[in-house]
């Protein structure tokens, strides 16, 4: 049996493969060889074979048949075997496999091995992938090693303890005694990992946090030494001594100082020192400054220190390094709520970042800009933001447009400015505007009474230029329908009124109906607008013609509208002016709370909700139902028929409505249809409706549609009543209702006296 090929030879061979298929073939061949070698329980070459398997695993091929072999390697006495075995365990095994529990004993033995590098391997593996059970079993060993004087092992044990605590938080207490002298270590590795361990404990337990607050002076001292000490070759990074340790200490100080006046005061000086003395020419210095700023902002620092921190961020914004600018914008976004004025001072720099080439920076700058808009700077800021809206990538346009609308609504200096701003957004980013903006804008325009003529004129002119942007077209159609009369009469005060005839306006609206660019929703808007103009324009015949044409449109929505409008012209012309008159000022109904803008188009990847940032742009969603768009068809029908429906009875979940018709040919007979509905959770069975009328009337009750009224308003029972009223007396009725609900019989009597006059006159 020839020796299995060496690892590096295998790598070389596989790399010569010219196609995926060729590679796969080589791999399969080698895997087969490795498998048979494993079967033969070959100790000599196990290590080599597992190493090869790990390589192939990295290329994406399955390697699960090597899992047990890793365990055998770990159990071996040879260091080489253990090294590869543990590596294999970390790569191929995780707590989802039962196999890995078998490691526990090996690890336990190796934790007590005479060679520190073997102990190190065990600690590393446990700290990387130990399951909760393993952690429970081995926590004691880790705790022992945490107290050793061997700094190589102590630092690893500290991080292993962190892992144990993450997996089994209840075990945290047992590590407390061992933490006693951790910070007196001189060894930086131990110091660093100790700070990590302390941080983990403080983050998880308020008691621990309180307990460790006494360490603040010691931490401050260590940090001071790091800054003041001279050059230390072992830990130097670009002239800074152990930046990793500095940052970790700053973070622990942040946690200890938060909401605690005394601790915060104890660290004020050192924070100021770090903030002013750290070299900022390289990334490493800025990393420390960044952490310092985060700490200053989080603890109870004095205001001078806070201003210093914000100024550091301001300087970051001017740095050539993109990463630093990005980090500054992110941090400013976090602090803008609490230190608004300080951040305002850097507004112009922030606005400049809108022009940055980097997508991530642009997005942060946009969010921050919106957060900084207020009554004083609205005009200037809006100019910049609108310019940004013009030139930014499509992924930003929706959010930016929404932000502009919101800011304009909050801080508009004048109605005209507001309308102009809206127009600007609609014309430049019209296709990206969110759907719910359309009803919001319509409401806004309706309520700006004095601007109607100006608005409709500007919207009309915009339509002449471009009908491709649907939100713009929809708002414009709606306005023309409402205010078309102002448009043709040339009443605009704000700017030069344009000369436009009724026919020209109707041309434009009809153009929308036939254009391929218009969506079905837009067509609906256009048709309704045309209809509304029938009460505002004199060219009614033209409008009638258009409406009747669309009565046979294949678009069901459009067809239904056209048919209804036709009905308005034909039978119910007397209703038309009332129905189509000017909309009243709308009340804002339900306002949902501020919603975070989800970055649906952030950077280059799918949506991420910034859970750490306060909502930078909020969008209240108003439920505005535009009556002119969503006709209540039942209401319309009955309105057209002249007699409004009424509710005769409404009790215990049973509701009975009456609708009316005049019977032909006898006008003395009122035909009433009852509609019974049931809002309770159970059906009403054996439902019987009975009615009685005064002697001068005659009553005929036809068969009901059913005697089960379905629960939860899922259907109605109808029944027709014919009432003869030759003496045209006021109609009165007594009704009796019986039904069974949830097993018990219910009976009720009621008088119905609220008949509308038209029903009996």
């Amino acid at each position: 049996m020839p020796a299995p090929i060496r690892l590096r030879e295998l790598i070389r061979t596989i790399r010569t493969a010219r196609t995926q298929a060729e590679e796969r073939e080589m791999i399969q061949k080698e895997c087969a060889a490795i498998r048979s070698s494993f079967r033969e329980e070959d100790n000599t070459y196990r290590c080599r074979n597992v190493a090869k398997l790990l390589y192939m695993h990295m290329l994406g091929y399955p390697a699960h048949f090597g899992q047990l072999e890793c365990l055998k390697l770990i159990a071996s006495q040879k260091f080489t075997d253990k090294r590869i075995g543990y590596l294999g365990a970390m790569l191929l095994l995780d707590e989802r496999q039962d196999v890995h529990l078998l490691m526990t004993n090996c690890i336990k033995n190796d934790l007590n091995h005479s060679t520190q590098y073997v102990q190190g391997l065990a600690l590393c593996t446990l700290g990387c992938m130990g399951s909760s059970e393993m952690c429970r079993d081995l926590a004691g060993e880790v705790e022992k090693l945490l107290k050793t004087s061997n700094s190589y092992l102590r630092k690893k044990a500290a991080l292993c303890a962190v892992h144990v605590i993450r997996k089994v938080p209840e075990l945290m207490e047992m590590f407390l005694p061992a933490t006693k002298n951790l910070l007196s270590e001189k060894n930086h590795g131990v110091l660093h990992t100790s700070v990590v361990l302390l941080t983990e404990m403080c983050e998880r337990s308020p008691d621990m946090l309180a307990h460790f607050r006494k360490l603040v002076p010691q931490l401050v001292r260590i940090l001071k030494n790091l800054i003041m000490s001279g050059y230390s070759p072992e830990h130097d990074v670009s002239g800074i001594s152990d930046p990793f340790l500095q940052v970790r200490i700053l973070r622990l100080l942040r946690i200890l100082g938060k909401s605690d006046d005394d601790s915060s005061e104890a660290m004020n000086d050192i924070l100021a020192q770090v903030a002013t003395n750290t070299e900022t020419s390289k990334n490493v210095g800025n990393a420390i400054l960044y952490e310092t700023v985060l700490t200053i902002m989080d603890i109870k620092s004095e205001s001078g220190l806070r201003v210093l921190a914000i100024n550091i961020l301001g300087r970051f914004l001017l740095n050539n390094d993109k990463n630093i600018r990005y980090v500054a914008l992110t941090s400013l976004l976090k602090t803008v709520q609490t230190d608004h004025n300080a951040v305002q001072r850097h507004r112009s720099t922030i606005v400049d970042c809108l022009k940055d080439l980097d997508v991530s920076i642009k997005r942060r700058a946009m969010e921050l800009s919106f957060a900084l808009v207020n009554g004083n700077n609205i005009r200037g800021m809006m100019k910049e933001l609108l310019y940004f809206l013009d030139s930014c990538d499509p992924e930003f346009k929706a959010d930016c447009a929404s932000g502009v609308f919101l800011a304009a609504e909050k801080y508009a200096p004048s109605k005209r400015w507001h309308i102009d701003t809206i127009m600007r957004v609609l014309t430049t980013a019209g296709s990206y505007v969110r759907d719910d903006s359309v009803p919001n804008l319509i409401q806004l325009i309706t309520n700006s009474v004095e601007m109607h003529a100006y608005t409709v004129q500007r919207l009309y002119k915009a339509l002449l230029d471009d009908i491709s942007q649907q939100p713009l077209v929809q708002v414009a159609s709606w306005c023309i329908g409402e205010y078309g009369d102002l448009l043709v009469s040339g009443q605009c005060e704000e700017e030069e009124p344009i000369q436009v005839t009724e026919d020209e306006v109707l041309d434009v609206l009809e153009g929308l109906l036939v254009s391929n660019l218009s969506t079905p929703v837009t067509r609906g808007y256009a048709l309704t607008a045309i209809m509304k103009l029938s009460t505002r324009f004199s060219s009614v015949n033209r409008i009638k013609k258009v409406v009747s044409i669309y009565g046979s449109s294949i678009d069901v929505e459009l067809q239904q509208r056209a048919v209804e409008y036709n009905a308005l012209f034909k039978k119910y012309d007397h209703m038309r002016p009332a129905l189509l008159e000017r909309m009243p000022i709308m009340e804002k109904t339900a306002t949902n709370g501020p919603t975070e803008i989800v970055q649906t188009n952030g950077e280059t990847e799918p949506s991420v909700v910034e859970s750490k940032h306060p909502p930078p742009v909020t969008q209240p969603t108003n439920q505005v139902t535009l009556i002119s768009q969503s006709f209540n068809y039942l209401l319309l029908l009955t309105l057209c028929l002249g007699i409004p429906p009424m509710t005769a009875y409404n009790k215990n979940g049973l509701k009975i409505d009456f609708t009316f018709e005049r019977a032909n040919p006898n006008p003395n007979i009122a035909v009433i249809t009852i509609h019974a509905s049931n809002s309770t959770e159970a059906d009403m069975t054996d439902f019987v409706f009975q009615a009685a009328v005064p002697k001068t009337f005659q009553l005929q009750l036809l068969s009901p549609s059913s005697n089960v009224v379905p629960a939860l308003n899922q259907g109605t029972v109808t029944q027709v009543i014919r009432v003869l009223n030759p003496q045209k007396q006021q109609l009165r009725m007594r009704i009796k209702l019986t039904y069974t609900l949830k097993g018990s019989a219910v009976q009720d009597l009621a008088e119905v006296n609220n008949f509308p006059p038209q029903s009996w006159q």
């Binding site: 080489t80 590596l87 630092k155 800025n286 960044y290 991530s360």
Partner: protein, 156 residues
């Protein structure tokens, strides 16, 4: 803490993967695909930070290799850049002017070095010299072993 570290070439070939939390194999493959796509699509002069799910992705290109480190949201991204840089320096010292081929042919060494620098998603040693010394000592232990088996060369 750090969640994972990936090294991949400009063609998207994986050269090293270190995971600090337990993740199913299929999920790992998916993440690797997403990371390589995202990072390779970045413009040359963009900033080195990305957002992905609830993590920050810090990436940096060194010669033909991309180093991609995922950290939790509250971690310091500027320091993460230093972590990547420190790892590159360690590799460089060990291999002497390290290049991608070194990492391909000696991937297990790259892991050993990483395991002396990071542990459980945190930094375990901040001194370059100490890490290098440990690796050298461990390597010597290995040679001690193989001297008993002189006819068998375990790593070609």
């Amino acid at each position: 803490m750090m969640r994972f570290l990936l090294l991949f070439s400009r063609q998207g070939k994986l050269r090293l993967q270190k995971w600090f939390t337990p993740i199913p194999e299929r999920e790992k493959k998916k993440i690797i695909r997403e990371m390589t796509t995202m990072v390779l699509a970045r413009q040359p002069r963009s900033c080195n930070f990305l957002h992905w799910k609830d993590l920050k992705i810090i990436y940096k290109r060194y010669a033909s290799l991309y180093f991609c480190l995922a950290i939790e949201n509250h971690e310091n991204e500027l320091l993460a850049l230093e972590v990547i840089h420190r790892y590159v320096e360690l590799l460089d010292k060990y291999f002497g002017n390290v290049c991608e081929l070194d990492i391909i042919f000696n991937f297990e060494k790259a892991y050993f070095i990483l395991d002396e620098f990071l542990l459980g998603g945190e930094i375990q040693e901040t001194s370059k010299q100490i890490v290098n010394r440990c690796i050298e000592s461990s390597d010597m232990l290995q040679e001690d072993d193989s001297s008993e088996w002189y006819e068998v060369e375990l790593f070609g």
